[in-house]
Symmetry: C2
Subunit: 509 residues, 2 copies
């Protein structure tokens, strides 16, 4: 195994943070390992631990490398021989997943280091998060081993999810294998798992997701630096509770944000929330006031919850890299158009009124009475056909003040049509045609079209509507069309994109 030589501690590899670990991380081996050891896999029929769950998850994900389960008691599990010692693995390993009891972790980690592993994720908990002298001492021992030349993710974490290599989390083995441009960093394993699951159906595709838990060795600064230079990653989202070194953290964000958007969800801004966050040595006080101000200064995109983080990630990954000043809104009903205007204004986005000529041209396309050809365009009823909507979109795009168009489709109303015709709702809803039309117009006009699919019909008797809506969402996404549930979500996403690219273009002037 080759490692990069130890370097002078510097700001960028995190070695200034105590200098325990002089080895520059071999991230390639950690994220795309060809040979993995899993320590803490119980034999068939025994109690099923985290190690077993992770092994099954890797197999279910179709991880193509070699997996070597390890347990001193030996046996077999999931068709694999369990080796008694790490040393019994033939040749060197690239990466290790450690799921043994806390007190066994330091020596297990050292065995993996000796086997040539570039890194290890320690899933086990029972360390500094307990606040006990024993837990804190065990975590120090992890750091001591790490300093000898193996980089550590965790402990008390979910580790790595990397669609390209097939590394994944427990307890969410069914994440997407489709790779994308969004990276996600999280102290919380639950948040990492939930965000990866949410991304799957929302259309966010990930380059790398890392849950680093206690962050005994590698943590936010190191990963930010790595992802900042990672060509696969175009957007970085992160969930932060406490940070170790505030100044370095914000400086790192500032430097990375010059290259790509950094979306930050800070948990624990309240007094009770800070109490709920496991205390870290240097976590920042006075947060609700200080954090937003600093994040603004370093040009991070601050979000308030996981949903907003997902919406921002989707918008950044699917929209072209520019500012969208003027937007047209088509479809929905009158009230949704009114709501669109209200939220657009709150994000500083304009919905310019169409000229009388343009209005006249759109008016000829719409059913009467009940429609309105101004911007927003109220198409009067939810059954207006895609070919007509295509012409409305073409007209909207012809206004040079329009940078982006939003189509609100009330597909749930097709349930009434389906009932009247005795057909399934999926069969009567023209979402495939609309997807073609929208993809075509977006390409032809070079102005992106976002689709909003609200659904007030989510009950047990409307699961056919829920399913049809998800089919529609997937089809739109396959054609590169961003989809949001609510008009507010779409504008919030656009608003974040605008904030970032306004900064970028100002910085380059």
């Amino acid at each position: 195994m080759t490692k990069m030589p130890a370097q002078t501690p510097n700001f960028f590899d995190g070695t200034h943070l105590g200098g325990q670990n002089a080895a520059f991380p071999d991230y390639e081996k950690m994220f795309h390992p060809k040979k993995i050891a899993i320590l803490g896999v119980s034999l068939e029929g025994g109690s099923v631990g985290l190690g077993n769950g992770l092994l099954l998850a890797l197999q279910a994900m179709g991880y193509e490398g070699e997996i070597f389960p390890v347990n001193p008691r030996g046996g077999t599990f999931a068709g694999l021989n369990i080796l008694r010692n790490v040393e019994d693995i033939p040749g060197e390993i690239d990466f290790a997943i450690i799921a043994v009891a806390a007190r066994m972790v330091p020596e297990s980690l050292d065995a993996c280091r000796k086997k040539g592993a570039a890194g290890a994720e320690i899933i086990s908990s029972g360390f500094s998060e307990l606040g006990t002298p024993e837990g804190i001492s065990l975590e120090r021992k992890i750091q001591d081993v790490a300093a000898k030349g193996i980089r550590v993710i965790g402990p008390n974490c979910f580790g790595i999810y990397c669609p390209k290599s097939g590394l994944t989390f427990m307890p969410s083995p069914d994440l997407s294998r489709e790779s994308g441009t969004v990276a996600f960093l999280s102290q919380s394993g639950g948040m990492a798992s939930d965000f990866a699951s949410t991304g799957k159906w929302m259309g966010i595709r990930f380059s790398k997701v890392v849950s680093f838990g206690n962050g005994a060795d590698l943590r936010e600064i190191e990963f930010l630096q790595y992802l900042g230079d990672d060509p696969e990653t175009h957007v970085i989202s992160m969930y932060v509770e406490g940070i170790k070194n505030g100044e370095s953290f914000f400086q790192t964000i500032k430097s990375v944000a010059r290259k790509k958007p950094v979306i930050v969800y800070k948990g624990g801004l309240s007094e009770a929330g800070q109490r709920a966050v496991v205390s870290h040595t240097a976590s920042m006080g006075g947060s609700r006031v200080i954090w937003p101000a600093i994040l603004r200064q370093v040009h991070a995109i601050q979000v308030q919850d996981m949903q907003e983080m997902a919406q921002a990630s989707l918008a950044f990954s699917l929209l072209p890299e520019r500012v969208f000043q003027g937007v047209s809104v088509i479809g929905g009903g009158g009230a949704l158009g009114v709501a669109a205007c209200d939220v657009a204004e709150s994000f500083g986005i304009g919905i310019p009124s169409f000229s009388s000529d343009l209005k006249a041209s759109i008016e000829t396309l719409l059913p009467k009475p009940g429609s309105s050809a101004a911007n927003p365009v109220d198409v009067a009823n939810p059954y207006v056909q895609p070919q007509i909507l295509k012409e409305v979109l073409r007209n909207g795009a012809s206004d040079e003040r329009i940078d982006l168009q939003i189509m609100i489709s009330l597909f749930y109303h097709y349930k009434a049509i389906a009932r009247a015709m005795g057909k399934s709702v999926a069969a009567v809803t023209p979402y495939p045609e609309l997807a073609d039309v929208i993809a075509g117009v977006a390409k032809e006009t070079n102005k992106p079209v976002i689709v909003v699919l609200p659904n007030p019909k989510r009950g047990l008797e409307d699961l056919d509507v829920v399913e049809m809506m998800e089919r529609a969402r997937q089809l739109f996404l396959e054609k590169g069309i961003p989809v949001f549930d609510e008009i507010k979500d779409a504008f919030r996403g656009i608003g974040h994109v605008n904030t970032y690219y306004a900064y970028k273009s100002a910085a380059h002037e």
Copy 2:
């Protein structure tokens, strides 16, 4: 037909608004009619209009009264003879649904008046909303007929949805027949329909829902007064775009809010939004500044979108009428507990830390390591059994600072269990047991428990999870337990309840 005698115009029946209509509305006949005429039903095989749709919707809802379809061309539709004239209906009618072409509306309305109808809903559009002299003149004619003694809802509206009587909307014929305590007033038909649909699965049960469109005769003030005195209605929600008489409107809210909560969603607060709102004679300017201030003064509960309106309506209708100062949060993971604290603080709700005795008592119940017995209680994994959660809830309720408990259940993680066991996710998820446990503890401790059911698994391959979650929601609701999707939604609902009952108790001191 008997009507109450004409009265001196006064503030409360809206006759001061021009005095066109001197008849005090016979709301009982309008909301619970035994005999309805539907004008504008095309015969079988002809073009299917709104009248036909409404007739089918009434039949699907199981409306028990008599329906008389009317069309000069006669024929039959949906098993009913279409009468050629309103006069051909035997005896008097209580209510009329008018769906004929705009120019035919005034004389149709007059025919219904002569037939004894207390009121009519005019579904047709093509009136003042067009802004044309013809449309405005036709709407004046409606007002002239109304002044002779028939009260009008509309035109350009969806009319009445009343679960008890079976009156319903197009195009949402499948609303709930279960009656409840929430009333909803809306200018927008789309909003009325969407809100009624949303309420169906969210657990909001309605007394009356009215979409009044242009509001040529009856509108916000009259309905607010009526609902303020309606014993079936305990909570009033409303969607407002423009209002006719600001001072009376706010005075009415103030007077009604002394009796029951009035939730107001004002659309069109932005400049573009005001443009999108059909202009009304006296709609208020400078709205984004003025409206929130006045709504606060009159003790209305102001919400920003339909989702928040639904969450507030659910909280008001299912929670006891008091202020909840201290809340405990149980379940979820660490990050959700942190999020709970952050949102709680932003709504002025406390999450008091448990005493060391209470913590010690809860600690003995939880799996280790990974759990935390402080408030919020992190139960460490999503598979902790309901019987254990029951004891945690009992412990939480024993703290006298706790007024309400929130249980965050991550049921979606049972998908992994279901797969491992080769069973369906519904079969392995213990939501029925948890529903029993929670209902029992809430009753025993006299402190409500709210359930939060986040679901990051909503894709096509997880529709089994979506279905299980909806089954869980319905079961919790049947036992009187409020359910929200996200922790933020729950706290926002509680926050609105607190604001209102803090005012009520201050007002009564």
